[in-house]
Amino acid sequence: MDRYDFKIPIGPQHPALKEPESFLLTMHGEKISSMTVRLGYNHRGIEKACELQTYIQDMYLIERVCGICSHSHATCFIQAVEEIAGLQVPKRALYIRTLVAELERVHSHLLWLGVAGHEIGFDTLLMYSWRDREVVMDILAMLTGNRVNYSVNTIGGVRRDITAEHIPQILKAIDTLEERTKYYIQIATEETTIIKRLSGVGMLSYDDGVHLGAVGPTARASGIDRDVRRDDPYASYEDVKFAVITDKHCDVYGRAVVRVLELMESYKIIRQILANLPDGPIAVKAPRKIPAGEALSRYEAPRGEDVHYVKANGTDKPERVKVRAPTLANVQVVAHMLKDRYLADMPIVIAAIDPCFSCTDRLISVTDAGKGTKNTMTWPQLHSYSIEWHRKSGIDFSELNKKFKVPGN
């Protein structure tokens, strides 16, 4: 850092970010020489809250980890619970889950397209793609009862069935969207200013992508051929045919191409699902108490691989829930991609991983305000800290503590 360098705080409040997160850029003129990411502004303690509620209640809580991919998180969580409980989910329910998942992917990618347009100052693209996104939002509202938090899952199946009248409506909407998507593909590949702003920006080579653990479209745009839907099929992805889109551009342009082409694949999947929708019940009865056990569930959210870990202890409440949202995996690559780039590229490079910070904020680093030193707390430390904290306010857990043996204590 020489004396011409200066620092710009991007966030926690900044027009480029729709959620609070802090990026501290060290600038050399218009160029970024380094960047530090600080997570934690959105930490809501959802994982801990999950341990205090029953599985049914957790479903709705987990759904609120993220607004855009609510179905992803809910399904991922429920898959883990169902695996522990050994439930055989009916086929029709799995098909409906897949349908909602793909509709959600469509809405999320269209949303991204608009956001990307806005970040590069192309507001017409934002207005148009969000207008078209309304079509799929209406379909989702029609199927599930809400535009954002669909709550279509329940342990052992789904809550809402598809009726015969819905199918032509969905197909019609998909036709309109397909036509519009083709138009956006044309625009994205033929508009000079878009290409100028996107290509060569935010480079992430194949090796770096693997090394830094990128997931989802970010990884696929660097040629990393990974997709949980194909590699480890869940729901009814085994029964449908689709291509995993990869791209060799390795830049933001590649990520845009991957996303718009993925939209086309999603339409294909939706059509197949509607054509082959099996009959039968939509849910099996689930026990309130889930037997002891643990499970890890993977899910290809629109932003990449989502991982949930659930540990059950035989009661109606989980013992531990852990969420690894896709943005957490991708946020590491942003700092890498922005190095030696222009400040003007910052918004679009951050937007290109389609960040969802409220999903990501599971970690906090505790900073001692007086000394300014950071320390990472381990689970036993945090546990004893919380006991200490409660004891100070007059609640004694030491009896309980003996009953449930806590590791490290």
């Binding site: 029609m142 009862g145 709550s151 809550r159 590949t189 033929e190 508009e191 000079t192």
Partner: protein, 127 residues
Amino acid sequence: MIRPGRMIKQVLQSLFKKPATSLYPFVKTAMPDKFRGRLKYYPERCIGCMLCMKDCPSDAIVIKKIGDKKYQAEINLARCIYCAQCVDSCPKDALEATKEFELAKFSRENLKVVCNEETCRSSETKT
């Protein structure tokens, strides 16, 4: 062909199109049939099993016994997340999610609604 201003055709066409924006609140939007809006409680059907209370993720509903086989529901609309789990849990269909979604009130107190035989009937006629 790669050139600037690729969108010009559609942009000029929009000039003669009706705007996509809906003029809410002047023009009301119809909610889909399955919409999960404000809850409606049918006190006469309720058997007081309290399953709804047990499953509610946000402690928004409280069922109280107010007489012999008579129950009342206190629903806190500010706490309710409109998941309709209580509707699913209820064995007697005593709860129902309506399409009503314009629930803003000037005070938090007004969001606490009490439903029993008398008040519910009057609120039914209102909405």
